[in-house]
Amino acid sequence: MTSKICFAAAAVLAASSLRAQAPGAAQVEIFEKNARPLFVEKCQGCHNQKLKSGGLDLSSVDGIREAAGGGFFGSASDPDKSIILGALGYEGRVKMPPQGKLPAERIAAIREWVAAGAPVPSPAPASATSAGDTSTGVRPVAIRGIITEADKNFWAFRALGHPAPPDVARKDWSANPIDRFIHAGLEKNGLEPAPPASRTTLLRRATFDLTGLPPSEKELNDFLADKSPKAFEKVLDRLLASPRYGERWGRQWLDVMRYADSTGSDEDHRYPHAWRYRDYVIQAFNDDMPYDQFVREQLAGDILAADEKSGVGYRGIVATGFLALGKKALAQKDLPLKRYDVVDDQIDVTSKALLGLTVTCARCHDHKFDPIATKDYYAMAAMFASTLSYAKGETGDPIQTPLAPAGQFETFRKRWSDFLDVERRIEKIIDFDKDSKKERDRQEGLIAASMLAAYRVYAKGEAIAQVAADTKLDAQHFRHWVEYLTAQTQPELAKWRAASDANRAQTAREYEEDFHRSAYQYDQDLTWWKEARQAFPSAGKVAGPRPRTDKAQNPFFHATFIADDGPLHRSQDDQIATLTAEQAAEVRKLLAQSAEFERALPRAEVPMACAVKEGETVEQKVFLRGDYHSLGDPVERTGPAILRLNAPEETVVTKSGRLEFADWIVDPHNPLPARVMANRIWQGHFGDGIVRTPDNFGKLGDRPSNPELLDYLARQFMEDGWSIKKMHRLVMLSKTYQMSAEYDLAKKEKDPEDRLVSRFPKRRLSIEEIRDTFLAIGGDLDLTMGGTLDPGVGTDGETSASRISMNPESTNRRSIYLPLRRSNLPTLYTLFDFGDATSPEGKRSPTTVATQALFVMNSPLVDREAKVLADRVLARNKKDARRIEEVYIAVLDRRPDPGEIDTGLTYIQSIRRRWKDIGEEKAWLSFCHALMASNEFIYVY
């Protein structure tokens, strides 16, 4: 009771002293360092605005000031008497935090803060304008103080301008408006544009930019010979029409949307149909699908697919892989958390990829820098929480949607499950495979002994019964061995027949070991197949026929175990004979049924997609501090308030709201999607964007180096019907793009990072380009498009190597087609800065490290392709000089100068002279290898 009275008295004192002096920076710091972390971590769970446990809100500055006003923090002169330290000290009735007493140093930190007078920063300025005050008639945003005038005027949120290309001094340096925007910037800074790049350089640059591959010798010759002013335009038309284009630019989009073929996180299950989304992206780029449509389909393609008029069809379902292919923690037991972690991933990819905004920090608190409130976050969350990502709530697998008429998949699955059900019923009585393996296991260690014993019978004429008794071998099995070995004709026994007395025992052991190896592989294959057969039908897939051990590869195992007359073979009849009459009858009945079901099994796979679906509409509330136990205010299903400022009017949201959201995102009122995508396209050509943080146009992101140019491009992009290919032509036909990469010291000092684009910035090839080009140089690159290289479903054993993504050295397909297991990406990709395939990442950061050099020096792939190239060059030409030239064209896409030819020839001669074991072929291989390892190869100028 007494404490209450003290409260009131202290309240007046504390409040007045607080008002008297606003805390200085040092005092704010002590609050932020000593007090706030504890409040956030340990107190806010209960002491928040909503629950206000004990009348105390420690979740906001206002609440903390109120608590100070209430005397909760006592007085600076005697901190230990304060209520807070009493509670933290675990001395009185109230012990906080309830989970356990804090470590002494944390309590000491609070004491220090209390002793400093418990300073609290000033409340957020009350001047904040709510969006409802604007005249645009948009629903008021009930976010206190979050959108200011300064926010609205921030470059990224301002409406798209109509910038006119500026007047420039050099009229001749203007192939299109891009050049005038660029030249104006150069003029202002006293810089001159670099001279035009040579045709050879330009062709290499353009070909890598648009296809991720080098030009061929013929393409080089054609371009050099074409004297028409349209020569480069013709090159662009050719490159843009090439299917290789979608493979290069589709891959860049896959980085942006964090593509992978598995769930990552804890269990890393395969997304068995992810590849359809990847193929969809490649196709969309190749078809030059308008970007607004591309966005709509990826956010709401499932809804569009259901509407015949949209003409989108199954493609739309596949497109929602954009939302569906994020990381997922399948073993997570906290189901609401499991759901909202997926929602978080979907908000993250949507906001970064399409809007260039980082929104997900608002899951727990208002964005510290951008005008994104927790309400904005949960407004988006409302849409994705009303969307299904797991088949049976959060307890099921990620959704797989059949791309087939209703009922087809259900029939497929029913037939398979009926069949597998009968199989299981048989297995309950007798598991034929297990049973024969059990018998085999018993006999496997006796193979050598049996063979040696049998030799005594068929070669030495000893009595079979006597030998069996001597050797304690099972008589029946032994008889089989004798029969098998007596024939003496089987090719797999050639070595056995040739054995001498001296090495017969050793030979028998070798046969036994050979059998072990084959048996191990067979068991593995069989297990994989059995598991696949169970798992495949729910993915619309068919596991194929039962694995047969290869007779040619494993002849001994085949003859002794698989073949009907093999000594270790156990026939089904033999196995059934061990059952009771009743069981045997049942098994025979089931076998007949199984055979009948098997005939009716659908053999054609049902195409499916990893997709999302509309779910029940969730009445979403804000989760205080991101904790779903602590509910705040309800929110609408909509996009961030800052982007609604210029929106024409409210739309009526149906179901999840994704379709309306998609329309709203690409509505011309919204300046961000066009700016963000125009910037990505610019970055694809110049290495850096006009904004160097392609996924973050917020306040912590980069500022545009040329905002007028960016707005010009964004507007042009929309006016050209969101055509990405038209953007490429616009950019690549500019003089800016066609400049050389040359620069001098003055330029380097004035604009070291080339932000003003006074020369073409060289770039390092991506790992896909490096690998694909090595394969292309040798002529081994397989240009088959689409489909999957991973036949599996589900995940693998915890220590199984199949958890590692496919080795890039094991296939000749283009890199984009290599399936990516999120938890274990290929070492090669990681080595060359591929990114993590888990977070949306619009830009890779190239590094140069020694382990990359080791790849180039030692990789069998590079070696192999260098050899193919060397062999080809040697076979095709007699003259060494022409050989050198051909290598230069193949690797560096240019002709060597005479000095380079001399150097090359001298190298080849000298290395051969030094080492006897290096003949002509190996010397040329080494020379090819050296060029492939060179700096000139790995950079594009």
């Binding site: 972390p37 971590e41 356990g100 470590p103 996180s265 804890d266 269990e267 890393d268 923690a329 073993a331 037991k333 978080d344 917020g698 306040k699 912590l700 620069y743 010291l745 060289k762 054993g797 915890e798 220590t799 199984s800 190597a801 958890r803 590692i804 938890s823 274990n824 070492t827 090669l828 800065d833 993590d836 888990t838 977070s839 590094t847 140069t848 020694a850 382990t851 990359q852 050099a853 080791l854 020096m857 030692n858 990789s859 070696d863 100068d897 005479p898 000095g899 380079e900 001399d902 150097t903 001298t906 190298y907 080492w915 290096i918 190996k922 080494s926 020379f927 050296a930 390892a933 700096n935």
Partner: protein, 475 residues
């Protein structure tokens, strides 16, 4: 004829100057001007750095027991369980992995014995490690949040299972750099491919060069790993001299190209990366070859016994890497400790594989004077429940579990923190994984609040916004 004469004989119009020849191809790396070497160090995340405060340990060896060994059967004796075997758990059970499958309290099937001068109690499960009791600093109050393996591994190694973040080893390497440029600074031996896989040793948004380098993986045999311990380390086609000759040609081509682009420092960096790769190739193969170790040493680690040979090789390799100044080394006893059933038999099997190698490592480090500045950590991703599962197993328990550390300026023969009577929740000196990370960083001289990296517009830390250094375990 060597490459030098080859180049000088090339005609003048090849634009390759004498200076370039002197700088590069012929004389190799050793003749590089000091200036450019320093420039390299500047831009280089692996260059040795000055720590925030005096380090107690220079390097870390993390012995990871994948699956989750039971604390209450190893380092945290619970008399209450002995007295109440089979009785129901008297407190509310927190979120479990195997919901509905757990039973009543189950006492430890192993007896605990006090040992050494310190009298630290360790169970009969780990008799050899028990001989080293006076070197151990046991923390009995670890707390994590992941009740499944994936979440628990990711949190143990990266601090979070919600996002992809750099791993602890990457942070340590990023913070301290490396003193041996001929080996990767962060090496993980036979790591687990499951439960987060490579995310557990990834550099996340930190520079790729601080990524953990995997030596094989958990599913591989040691003999196969030894053929090529690091991917792309071994050249199949050329002898070392021949490869050097080819490399001289590569560098000659690069020098000529650099003449055209004199102002571009990146070209020099890549030229040097090849020299470094070439040196690494030789050095690494030497370090990974354990055949020259004495028979006594091999025996000490249990290399002579098939049961202990695998983990023994890992531990021996860890010592060799520590000697070679690798900053962060991890050994993984692959996914074996997950005894939801059959605890007694299976934990015995697992312990028999690691007990001797680990004791061997501690003794060997100590006798070579390495233990004093090496931090050895032994940990699973969580402990196991005091209640039984499936009759004779235990479920996952991240709420209160034990790890131990040794060396590196720690109190020795010491137990820190405590769980409740049941061994379910940490009750005293709770050391959350964030706290553990903060403490490990402090031991190697890094302030977890100052070790930050700016990414996507904000400064990130290993400990996010949490973490308290537990100085109570410092000597």
């Amino acid at each position: 004829m060597d490459i030098r004469s080859l180049i000088t004989k090339a005609p003048a119009r090849s634009r390759l100057s004498r200076r370039a020849i002197l700088r590069g191809a012929a004389c190799g790396f050793g003749m590089m001007g000091l200036g450019s070497v320093l420039a390299e160090a500047d831009a280089d995340p692996l260059a040795p750095k000055i720590p925030n405060f005096l380090p107690r340990a220079k390097r870390v060896i993390f012995l990871f027991m994948h699956g989750g060994p039971s604390s209450i059967d190893t380092f945290d004796p619970k008399p209450y369980l002995d007295a109440n075997d089979g009785k129901p758990l008297p407190i509310q059970q927190p979120l479990t992995f195997a919901a509905g499958k757990t039973g009543g309290l189950m006492k430890s099937p192993w007896a605990f014995k006090q040992s050494g001068q310190s009298g630290l109690p360790i169970s009969d499960l780990l008799p050899k490690i028990r001989e080293c009791a006076d070197d151990l600093c046991v923390v009995r109050s670890m707390v994590g949040e992941g009740v499944d393996h994936g979440a628990a591994l990711l949190q143990t190694f990266t601090g979070t299972f919600t996002f992809t973040r750099p791993s602890m080893g990457s942070w340590v390497l990023f913070g301290l750099g490396t003193e041996n440029r001929n080996l990767p600074g962060y090496i993980t031996i036979k790591p687990a491919l499951s439960h987060g896989g490579a995310k557990n040793w990834s550099s996340g948004f930190l520079p790729g060069s601080v990524q953990g380098t995997a030596i094989g993986h958990a599913g591989m045999q040691v003999a196969d790993i030894q053929k090529e311990p690091i991917e792309y380390l071994v050249n199949q086609g050329l002898t070392r001299e021949q490869q050097r000759y080819e490399l001289d040609m590569i560098q000659a081509i690069n020098r000529k190209h650099h003449e055209l682009w004199k102002l571009d420092d990146e070209l020099e960096t890549r030229i040097q990366s090849f020299e470094m790769g070439f040196r690494m190739q030789a050095e690494a193969q030497k370090v990974f070859d354990v055949s020259g170790e004495s028979e006594a040493t091999k025996k000490l680690y249990g290399l002579d016994d098939p049961k202990t040979a695998d983990f023994g090789w890992q531990c021996l390799l860890a010592r060799r890497l520590a000697e070679a100044d690798v900053r962060f080394i991890q050994c993984t006893h692959s996914y074996k400790w997950d005894q939801h059933s059959d605890l007694f038999a299976k934990h015995n099997e697992n312990a028999a594989e690691v007990d001797k190698p680990i004791a061997g490592l501690l003794k060997d480090l100590k006798s070579r004077g390495l233990l004093k500045d090496t931090l050895v950590i032994w940990s699973g991703e969580f402990g196991r429940t005091p209640v039984s599962e499936s009759g004779n197993g235990r479920d996952h328990n991240p709420y209160g579990y034990s790890i131990w550390m040794a060396g590196g300026g720690l109190k020795a023969g010491f137990a820190y923190g405590a769980t409740d009577d049941f061994g379910y929740h940490a009750a005293e000196n709770r050391m959350h994984i964030h706290d553990f990370h903060a403490t490990v960083l402090a031991l190697v001289g890094l302030d977890h609040e100052k070790l930050t990296y700016r990414y996507s517009g904000r400064d990130f830390r290993l400990t996010d916004v949490a973490g308290t250094v537990h100085r109570g375990i410092f000597a």
